[in-house]
């Protein structure tokens, strides 16, 4: 499958790879250059492969309060957004997603690879609720991120859109028919995500490029989100782990509304257990990658779930799932291709506004 921007990617020199059945650009020459462009200037990502689902109807709010671990009642006004995990009855994570409150209900943006699973789950869970769950497959999604993103978007958008954007605070959104503009993102930089019809998205992409916004591919998207401490479904989260093991406890709200998985999470809290996701930074040359064991005191205490070379920090970074996080003691080692390399366990995020902001955990 191809997004409506496929020709634009080829024109920009995109190196196309298969991503869950979609032909997507991994980079346009150098993922490191694209990463740096987003941190220092502005980059544009085509994320149209992601899944947009509109939830409308009388019971939309009640339904989502039951479905999601975060509480959509927090979206007290139209034009607000939040991030949530969607759990099964065991508290395992089915997906992570953004929820945007619109004038007619809610718009969910879920992952590409989990599309079919999520749609089935949603339709099943919606039984008994007066809601309509409808995928919007014909819309494109652009993310424009970086210190110059807001300025350049202001120039590239129509006056009506630019005005709507200028009114938004972070985590706010504006709808216009099927279109949506939101001050959300996956990079840790200021910027916006725009859901638009295909031809409008292509035209916007061209205008942004003409203004010097750099096309950025999936490679840069991954290193940017990792630096920003943001999880990737399939790597850092899956159905075998609960939010507390994924650095997502902050997204879970227990207030007696009984969401799917709540009982399991409460039982997990009762039982104690300190399986956690932490940041890891290399102190020597080398790159952390998913699957590298973490060793402390001669024992394996965890494993890297996501790893990459951080262009902002010029060193390897990663997330590690650690058992016994409360008893974690330095020094930590990562086993990389048979060698034990010293690493630091650190807080997340690694980088804020382009600068290191992590602190050692032990």
């Amino acid at each position: 499958m191809q997004t409506c921007l496929y020709a634009s990617h080829i024109d920009a020199g995109g190196k196309m790879v298969d991503f869950s059945g979609w032909q997507m650009p991994i980079h346009y020459g150098s993922q490191i250059e694209e990463h740096i462009a987003v941190r220092q200037h502005a980059g544009v990502f085509d994320v149209s492969h992601m899944t947009v689902i509109d939830v409308t109807g009388k019971d939309a709010t009640t339904f989502l309060r039951h479905l999601l671990a975060n509480d959509v009642v927090k979206l007290s006004r139209v034009g607000q957004a939040l991030y949530s995990a969607m759990l099964d009855e065991r508290g395992g994570i089915i997906d992570d997603l953004m929820v945007y409150r619109g004038p007619d209900g809610y718009r969910l943006v879920v992952n590409c690879g989990t599309r079919e699973k999520d749609l089935v789950w949603l339709q099943t869970a919606a039984a008994g609720f007066d809601v309509l769950v409808e995928e919007a497959p014909h819309l494109a999604i652009l993310a424009v991120q970086g210190p110059k993103a807001m300025d350049l978007l202001g120039t590239a958008l129509t006056p009506h859109q630019a005005h709507a954007l200028a009114e938004l605070k972070p985590f706010e959104c504006a709808f216009s028919g099927q279109d949506m503009i939101a001050r959300t993102g996956y990079t840790g930089e200021l910027g916006a995500e725009l859901i638009l019809a295909a031809d409008a998205a292509c035209a916007l992409w061209d205008r942004l490029r003409a203004l010097g916004v750099k096309p950025a591919g999936l490679g840069a998207r991954d290193t940017l989100r990792l630096e920003a401490g943001l999880n990737l479904y399939g790597s850092d989260m899956d159905e075998q782990v609960t939010p507390s093991a994924c650095n997502l406890s902050w997204t879970v709200v227990h207030n007696g509304r009984d969401f799917i998985g709540e009982k399991a999470l409460l039982a997990e809290k009762e039982a104690g257990g300190d399986r956690r996701l932490i940041g890891v930074v290399m102190t020597d040359r080398g790159v952390l990658r998913a699957g590298h064991p973490i060793v402390s005191g001669g024992r394996e205490v965890g494993v890297i779930t996501s790893g990459a070379f951080s262009p902002s920090l010029q060193r390897g970074i990663g997330f590690a799932r650690i058992e016994g996080a409360n008893e974690l003691k330095a020094p930590l080692l990562a086993v990389i291709r048979g060698r034990e390399m010293p690493v630091l366990g650190v807080t997340l995020p690694f980088v804020r506004r382009g600068k290191a902001c992590f602190k050692p955990l032990v």
Binding site: I26, H27, S30, Q31, I32, G219, T223, R285, G286, V287, R289, A308, F309, R337
Partner: protein, 131 residues
Amino acid sequence: MAEVRDDVRYLATHEWVKLEADGSVVVGISDHAQDALGDVVFVELPEIGTSFVQGSEMAVVESVKAASDIYAPVSGVVVACNSALEDAPETVNDSPYDAGWFVRLTPDDPSSIESLLSPDAYQALCDDETR
């Protein structure tokens, strides 16, 4: 299309080898290889004076995608390494056949380079891989 230089020989593992006038051989990775690897972030080079048997692991190139071993194309002794790659690993991507060279060896048997892949044979191999 990746560049295949016609004044060097190749390994199926995408190293290039150049026989110099002084009898030494210089080793690097091909344009096809650097393109497949993506941005190079670290290069691990051997100590000068180390000897290698043909086909053994001689160096490591770590890119954003993965770490890859670089194999000794001929048996020989390391006489020089491109230490500039320590601070500028991206040189491997920018100039794989020139500034991005890895290692210079004194070969045990200079004629052994002739049994390596010719530029045409290497091009054919790359075409097959790309298909």
